[in-house]
């Protein structure tokens, strides 16, 4: 992935076609410089990534994002393009003006003219690239795991003397930015000691973009507002859905209660109706539980026995119906043989015997 020798150059001007989120499809991407620092040096800095154990927070500039988008849409020149252009013109200027480090006024004009020319040439492509997404270069490189955090200095070269740098200290990212003229700010490490990323077009094409592209502070604000709105809608939908479910439950339980009450009522009514029918049927049937009538049979069987076992049997039962008549009682002489039904005997002073037996007791049984 990386080495100390440059395996290609890239430019922040380029629109790279690289793998989409999750490796699905591909999309046009414009890289911008993302800066790792405690606080952004720019007033329009926006947090791209929060502070983690392995890095300081990273920042991007609203201006860079918009410029990159405009560049992709063919409206302007990107910051990187401008930087590289200036660098190139500086080199030309230095060669032409006695090895001076600063570009001359003439050199700058020439370089700006060249950039405008380049922009004009790129205009047809820009229409195609207008939907390009903007990502921080280091954000993407780290996402793809091509940066060795143990190396103190990693660079992604625009040219041999300029590019993006990433400084780490004991595996923790501490700084990043653009370097020019081979000078890397904020470190004693030289370009010779840097690990140079392979940023050839073919390598970049194999990368995958992170899930979150760069957003300007206004976009973030809108996103937050949208998120709040979405959340309110979501809660409202939850409330309506829950209410619908609760109403459904209420209606179900109510209908179940009504259904069961009706079923119980119908069953009770049907049961009562059948019981009533049964009582009427039982009343008019010759059922074994009613006929022959037990009390009558007991009385007649006992009288029959007593008549043949005694003499001068007398009895008078004017009305043996009803619950008040609980026992039969007759008067006769002592029996000439044993009586087989359950009864009691009481001998009167005149020698007659009173026989008594209960109405409901069986006619068969030992005498007492």
């Amino acid at each position: 992935m990386s080495s100390r020798a440059a395996k290609g150059h890239f430019s922040l001007d380029d629109v790279h076609k690289i793998g989409g989120v999750g490796g699905i499809g591909s999309r046009n991407v414009v890289f911008i410089s993302d800066e790792y620092a405690e606080v952004s040096r720019h007033p329009d800095g926006v947090v791209l990534q929060q502070k983690t154990a392995s890095s300081l927070p990273s920042w991007v500039r609203d201006a860079d994002i918009e410029r990159a988008r405009n560049f992709a849409a063919g409206l302007t020149t990107s910051q990187g393009s401008l930087a590289v252009g200036l660098q190139r013109s500086a080199t030309v200027g230095a060669n032409n003006a006695d090895a001076s480090e600063q570009p001359t006024r003439k050199g700058i004009a020439a370089s700006l003219a060249a950039l405008r020319q380049k922009k004009a040439e790129a205009a047809p492509k820009a229409v195609v690239n207008s939907g390009a997404a903007v990502y921080g270069f280091w954000q993407t490189a780290l996402h793809n795991g091509v940066v060795d955090l143990k190396a103190p200095l990693t660079v992604a070269p625009f040219t041999d003397r300029s590019g993006l740098f990433l400084l780490t200290h004991e595996g923790r990212i501490v700084s990043s930015g653009i370097f020019r003229a081979g000078l890397i700010p904020g470190t004693e490490h030289s370009l010779d000691q840097a690990v140079v990323l392979d940023v050839s077009e073919s390598t970049l094409r194999g990368w995958k973009v992170p899930s979150e592209p760069c957003m300007t502070s206004a976009e973030k604000l809108r996103a937050r507002q949208r998120q709040r709105d979405t959340r309110a809608i979501r809660i409202m939908v939850s409330a309506v859905g829950s209410a619908a479910i609760a109403l459904g439950l209420y209606l179900y339980l109510s209908s179940l209660a009504v259904e069961r009450a009706n079923a119980l009522s119908a069953a009770s009514a049907r049961s009562a109706e059948i019981d009533s029918q049964n009582a009427e049927i039982r009343r008019l049937r010759f059922t074994s539980e009613r006929y022959p009538d037990g009390e009558s049979i007991i009385a007649l069987a006992a009288v029959q026995q007593l008549y043949y076992a005694t003499q001068s049997l007398r009895l008078e039962w004017p009305n043996i119906l009803g619950p008040e008549f609980v026992a039969f009682e007759v008067s006769a002489s002592p029996p000439v043989h044993e009586l087989t039904f359950r009864h009691t005997q009481r001998v009167n002073p005149d020698g007659t015997v009173v026989y008594r037996w209960n109405k409901g007791e069986g006619a068969l049984g030992a005498s007492q």
Binding site: S238, L249, L256, A263, L264, F286, S296, A299, P318
Partner: protein
């Protein structure tokens, strides 16, 4: 759309609270066992009805009355003319229609004859007297009848 955990908690909380309230205010259904028990009672009653319908019906009162009187005569019992009044109608809801009759005759044969008749006919003893070897029995003969045919039909 990305769901946050708090959204899920709020949604679930709302769902729980509202469904709990719905459950709380909804009418409590009768237990299924009670309904099932009532339906079983209906089935048992229907079964009982089928059994009852297999039992023989009570005889037609005029016919049975006539046959019984013939039997009394065969036994040598005398039929006493009992004035039939409206009390021949059932006196309790489960009592079938009846006619009241009275016979008298020799105590031994009479008791035996009565005993046998009570086994054969749906009858009930109302009163019984035995004096001087004479038995007198008053009874009810149960059966079915058309109320219009009561008067005069049993006065033989």
């Amino acid at each position: 759309m990305k769901f946050e955990r708090i959204d899920i908690f709020i949604g679930l909380g709302l769902l729980f609270v509202l469904t709990f309230l719905a459950w709380l205010v909804s009418p409590t259904p009768v237990a299924a066992e009670i309904v099932s028990g009532a339906e079983q009672r209906v089935q048992l009653s229907e079964l009982r009805q089928a059994q009852l319908k297999q039992q023989p019906a009570l005889p037609d009162l005029p016919s049975a009355w006539q046959q019984l009187n013939i039997d009394w005569q065969h036994c040598g019992l005398t039929i006493v003319n009992v004035p039939q009044v409206m009390d021949s109608e059932p006196q309790s809801p489960d009592e079938p229609p009846f006619w009241t009759g009275e016979v008298n005759g020799p105590a031994g044969v009479g008791a035996t004859c009565l005993y046998l008749a009570f086994q054969r006919y749906p009858m009930r003893l109302v009163a019984l007297n035995v004096t001087d070897d004479v038995v007198t029995a008053r009874y009810r003969l149960y059966g079915t009848h058309d109320p219009i045919r009561i008067i005069g039909a049993n006065t033989q």
